[in-house]
Assembly symmetry: C2
Homo-oligomer: 286 residues x 2
DNA sequence: TTGATTATGTAACTTTACTACATTTAGGCT
DNA sequence: AGCCTAAATGTAGTAAAGTTACATAATCAA
């Protein structure tokens, strides 16, 4: 656990004066690392030894050591604590918080990543006859995004958030077909049904979902993201971003595995998109 | 340019004694940050002021400042630099790289953020009569995602990636209607046309796009993300993630501005979604 | 070689952080 | 309440670290 997290964790157990220091540091860590102990102390309205004791309580050797660790912590760029949004936040604070918690979730997901299912997914895709991406609600747009990327490839792919279309696809599925079922919770009844049908037909069902969920029972491969609870209480935020990035990784793996002449094709596809744009600086699709 | 790079760059122009210090630091930076100026000086067989002068020559305020910068430099260690994917990467490396570059892009976007257009967008939405989210290609799924979130709210909202549907909406648009046009480059001809029509009808066109792009000419508000060039050469990766997070921020601002009784409604919507799921741990939509 | 210029080191000084101790504050018990 | 104990906080002195001013040594051009 890094220093900033340690401070916010221990904040409760600190004494009154020490908590003043903690608040100051958490509120503006940048400032702290450029100040002397005396200046920080007076800023927090406490004495110098209090600041020193505060540092030691956090496991530092002294104030200079504390500054050093804090500096490193900041440089690492994971001061993204899941700070919850408050009624009093202005738009600027709020925006920063949203970015922070997304970054935080992504970086946690990155650490607790299992590349094996991703690898299996790539293998399945390379041999796929046709591919589909299904999901509902917020996961539908993730599926949509994934299909959009596969549209660049030469294997037939489809997306749907329509129950009946999905069911038809599943019923017609065969071995060597790949079905991506996307659901954060893995508890959406309708999607489980679809997955079951495809699974029974011998298709390779890949779940971008939670491990040990009802949906995962029907999946040959489960790619899970292990993001912390969503910051926002009303709708998925960070979880779907993690799903997108996971799928990006699968796509990158696929692109690589298909070899150089496949990537030439991709370059041609990209070139071909230019016709739809006002020219100036050639860029990726949008 | 970071400190270590700066040292090796200036190494040639340094005097004999100062070069000794430079070599020492480059050879073992870890040690340097934990030593006092005296200890470092004796280790390099030079005097203390020499070390001090060395620090200043590198643009630091003094030795403590030098240590701080060096520490930050080291902590960055394997920063989320846009490390390009290589043929030889295995799936694990590749996945890490994809996550890294996404994190990198997001954190850059976070730093160079202008909250004013976000704030204006929130204001426009609060007064909106109807709202639409349009985009093509990868941006279509972003628009899809945004609409999915607005489906929870009480203002009529729609999404389309269909040229004709979009055009019909634009033609029917009026003042107080809000149109989100999503495009990374802001150069997609079709979308510009739609934006122009809506704009001429007096609707509030909000571009989630690049500043100074053709599209931005028809936008009353431009929310831009300033992400670095996309890592992947073939398709948008990081840029669309940044778009999503920007829209998340707008939504969070909107939710907050609508006040507590509006959030109660949201809670009811979330509760209502449960019926579509296998129960166990209630969670957000998927 | 010599004078000027730059590089380096010495020593005094200033700032910074730490330690030991005194004072205050808070909580428990009669 | 009033007292006692223990914890928390601050004061003042001390040690250590960093900086500055100046003196000496090295380098180079004429």
């Amino acid at each position: 656990m890094d220093l900033i997290q340690r401070i916010s964790a221990e904040q409760q157990q600190l004494s009154k004066s020490e908590r003043k220091v903690a608040e100051l540091v958490l509120h503006d860590p940048e400032t702290a690392i450029h100040r002397s102990i005396a200046s920080l102390a007076s800023l927090a309205n406490v004495s110098e030894p209090t600041v020193n004791r505060f540092c030691r309580r956090l496991g530092c050797k002294g104030y200079p050591d504390f500054k050093l660790q804090l500096a490193q912590n900041l440089a690492k760029g994971t001061p993204f604590v899941n700070r919850h949004i408050e009624e009093s936040d202005n738009v600027d604070e709020l925006t920063q918080k949203i970015f922070d918690s997304t970054l935080s979730a992504l970086s946690i997901a990155r650490q607790s990543l299992d590349s094996r299912p991703i690898s299996s997914a790539v293998d399945a895709l390379v041999n796929a006859r046709k591919i589909a991406f299904f999901g509902f609600g917020a996961s539908a747009s993730v599926a949509h995004d994934a299909q959009n990327k596969f549209a660049r490839f030469d294997t037939p792919s489809s997306f749907s958030d329509d129950l009946l279309v999905q069911r038809m696809w599943a019923i017609n599925s065969e071995p060597n077909d790949v079905l991506f079922c996307i659901s954060h919770t893995g508890r959406t009844k309708a999607l489980c049904e679809i997955a079951e049908i495809a699974h029974e037909n011998g298709a390779c069902v890949i779940g971008v979902t939670a491990l040990d969920s009802p949906l995962s029972d029907f999946c040959r491969i489960v790619v899970s993201s292990n993001v912390p609870e969503d910051t926002d209480q009303y709708m998925p935020m960070a979880s779907r971003i993690a799903q997108l990035v996971l799928i990006d990784a699968i796509i990158a793996g696929y692109t690589l595995k298909r070899g150089p002449q496949f990537r030439e094709k991709l370059a041609r596809v990209k070139e071909g998109l230019k016709g739809s744009r006002f020219q100036k600086s050639p860029d990726s699709s949008s």
